[in-house]
Assembly symmetry: C2
Amino acid sequence: MTLDPQNSQAVVLLSGGLDSTTVLALARQQGYRCHCLSFAYGQRQAVELDRARENARRYQAEAHLVLNVDLDRIGGSALTGPWPVPKDVPVGRGEPPRAAAEIPITYVPGRNTIFLAYAAAWAEVLGAWDLFIGVNATDYSGYPDCRPEFLLAFENLANLATRAGVSGAGRFTVHAPLLRMSKGEIVRTGQRLGVDFASTHSCYDPDPQGRACGHCDACQLRLLGFAEAGLADPAPYQPGGRPA
Amino acid sequence: MTLDPQNSQAVVLLSGGLDSTTVLALARQQGYRCHCLSFAYGQRQAVELDRARENARRYQAEAHLVLNVDLDRIGGSALTGPWPVPKDVPVGRGEPPRAAAEIPITYVPGRNTIFLAYAAAWAEVLGAWDLFIGVNATDYSGYPDCRPEFLLAFENLANLATRAGVSGAGRFTVHAPLLRMSKGEIVRTGQRLGVDFASTHSCYDPDPQGRACGHCDACQLRLLGFAEAGLADPAPYQPGGRPA
């Protein structure tokens, strides 16, 4: 564990969504100097990278790397492939999937493993020990790489895989401060920390203007969170996208 | 464990070097249908990718993906950065490093974690359970991410991180058949399997014609292996690169 975050650097995985932006705000509040890491991976929702850039500036990131990674050439997900993004599927059951068939097609194989692997690599180069990721309990109802046991296994791996880990000078910690929060709690946390929600993007299937569809899993969870928090979502939606 | 490799698909990490080409030959001999995965990561020795393409064809790979990954923008290694590649440093002690300072500057932070993460992602998409990687004991004298405990930790992670792992239909296995071999044993294994050594590239610092320097760690280990096996290395060397 890092004892003196006032002097600590962190690598923050920043997609540009509601969750990762709230995580960045939390890490900054805790005094971390944040190095933000985003990925261009052929995602439909590449508009999220513009939102990530805005928030990296807003939260005075020490640096912001947007890495090009060829995840789309591996395939297997509606976020990068030719399949339609599912709409109006019930979300947020909060239970782990019992069968592979229950895992949504928007799951990107290996994504969080790959993203955390890059984060650990950059942390090693920076001399940082703290990695922040915005996974949460609602997501891990569907995505295997959002579960607490996955995060612990990654922490173990990072401490074995690196020169930093071998050195004994510290231990990598994966911080997932949203893990046990509901979407409503995330929205309230973001509001308390002054997150500009209009400058966050969650939708898996935005229109060419970057407006949210309101019906994919990510939109449904986001809207659920704002409803739970008793707030209106200031982000732009397509016609018919925002609930009445 | 995979019980029937005659029907099995594997993802083989193929750098184009002596070790990974021998691993590909071993996997083919065991009956695996091989999907080869290589990475363009800003490495000095990008000529190795041409050798990887030749060997993927030679061993009738089902597919060969060369992914562009921005590892060089993370930095921290002489293989991708502005530092000179060390020459004529004693190699092959065969002992794990006792301190971070003993890990060579040619270590690329996070490289094997990132490469295995992509391999597991592709395997999941393909429905494959077997990952092959050419790490070996001589390398793990210097690189933390070539150690057996790292490979086991990755296997554990892959089985937690993926839809495939959650499904219970199988378990990912990381095969590192060279792990306990000396470089001489690797050369003898490759020879037995008909590896075309002239079509493998190991040098970290080739000249513009792709000829090996003969003095970096990778060249020294390779030449040691050929000497142990009592064979001449048919690969091209720069003037002064090949020992008398």
